[in-house]
């Protein structure tokens, strides 16, 4: 049978080209959602830390802030909460494409990690009042991990810096 003859022929460059074209076609017609890998990684983090996921409890709002130098700066503030604590995050622009994050947690002193994916992890310590600052951050997606002195760690969903 002729069909058998060509089916047992060696895999050649035309076969390669057909499969390459098929990959291109499937990827265009039915692409993997761009943020799926990010969401999987987030779910893995939550699972690994046995963390609680804080929910967004206030919509982002623009607030005007007056800095020490009297220059008004705009900041976006959001709040994430679990049953046991709230995390307020205020993001403002710094020069040269950098960003500053002012945070406040209701649990008092805590270890805080900001995960910026490929940009790495930055750490800070929230003081007795629960305040912490992370300055000179690259822009992009990030989420916070808060480790209170007692209780389970808490992660926020991703937000944009």
């Amino acid at each position: 049978m002729i069909a058998t003859d060509t089916a047992t022929g060696p895999f050649d460059s035309t076969d390669e080209a057909v499969l390459r074209e098929l990959r291109e076609t499937a990827a265009r017609l039915d692409p993997c959602p761009a943020d799926l890998a990010e969401r999987v990684k987030f779910a893995l983090t939550v699972q690994a830390l046995q963390a609680e996921v804080a929910q967004l409890t206030s919509q982002p709002e623009l607030v005007s802030r007056t800095s020490a130098t009297q220059e008004p700066a705009e900041a976006t503030t959001v709040t994430y909460s679990t049953e046991s604590l709230s995390i307020m995050v205020s993001v403002s622009r710094e020069g040269a494409g950098r960003t500053r994050l002012d945070g406040w947690v209701t649990c008092g002193p805590a270890e805080v990690e900001l995960d910026q994916g490929e940009h790495g992890v930055r750490r800070a310590t929230a003081d007795e009042d629960g305040r912490f600052v992370l300055a000179d951050l690259p822009r992009g997606l990030a989420h916070l991990l808060v480790r209170p002195a007692r209780g389970r760690p808490v992660v926020t969903p991703q937000f944009t810096l």
Binding site: A3, T6, A7, T8, G9, P10, F11, D12, S13, T14, D15, E16, V18, L19, R20, E21, L22, R23, E24, T25, A26, A27, R28, L29, D30, C32, P33, L36, A37, R39, V40, K41, A43, L44, Q47, A48, G117
Partner: protein, 200 residues
């Protein structure tokens, strides 16, 4: 001139399964960020696995995520790091089937032809494809299910991984590569007979 090779035939280039195995080993040896790199490397393939097995888009996302969470719990069960790609493909395939059965139970369809994984093939979505790609997609759609799934998935891996993908799909080794195999042969014949492919 042994150094001069085309990328396709360069055997020094690790295949997708090899790169995945390498990241998996690094994770197991205490490098937590290697899991994130593995997720980035294989999630696009696993998406195609779920979709090729009939998952609706939203269900495909859940299936892929669920399987990654399960992998982390089963790290110690995977003795051969090179096999991690096949493990994931099998897991997504099974989860997709389970999801498909659940979806068919909850969706009433008098024609019995529900295919939640069908790509939206209205003229508008097909318009993003070239004429040649539309022809190819239609020809693949005409193939028997097993062939359609096999070809769609091997298209996303490297040639040394074809056997692992075939086995994961329950097809014999050698279903594709080193010989052309029946599935690809059928597709090539169908394309060769189509003037829109030949002339494009």
């Amino acid at each position: 001139m042994t150094e001069h090779r085309s990328p396709e035939t360069d055997t020094a280039q690790p295949s997708l399964a090899q790169r995945a195995g390498e990241r998996f080993t690094a994770y197991r040896d205490g490098e937590p960020e290697a899991m994130g790199q593995l997720v980035e490397l294989l999630t696009p393939l696993l998406w195609q696995v779920a979709r090729a097995h009939g998952c609706a888009a939203h269900a495909a996302e859940d299936v892929v995520q669920e399987v990654w969470l399960r992998l982390v719990d089963h790290v110690d069960d995977i003795r051969e790091p090179l096999a991690v790609l096949g493990w994931l493909v099998v897991a997504v395939k099974r989860e997709a089937w389970r999801d498909g059965r659940a979806a068919r139970r909850s969706t009433y369809d008098e024609t019995g032809t529900v295919d939640p994984g069908a790509v939206d093939e209205d003229p508008e979505s097909l318009a993003i494809l070239t004429e040649r790609q539309r022809t190819l997609w239609a020809a693949v759609g005409e193939l028997p299910d097993r062939c359609r799934v096999l070809l769609r998935l091997v298209a996303f891996v490297d040639r040394p991984d074809y056997d692992q993908v075939s086995t994961a799909l329950g097809m014999p080794r050698g279903s594709i590569g080193p010989t052309r195999g029946r599935c690809l042969d059928k597709l090539r014949r169908s394309l060769a007979a189509d003037p829109r492919w030949v002339d494009a």
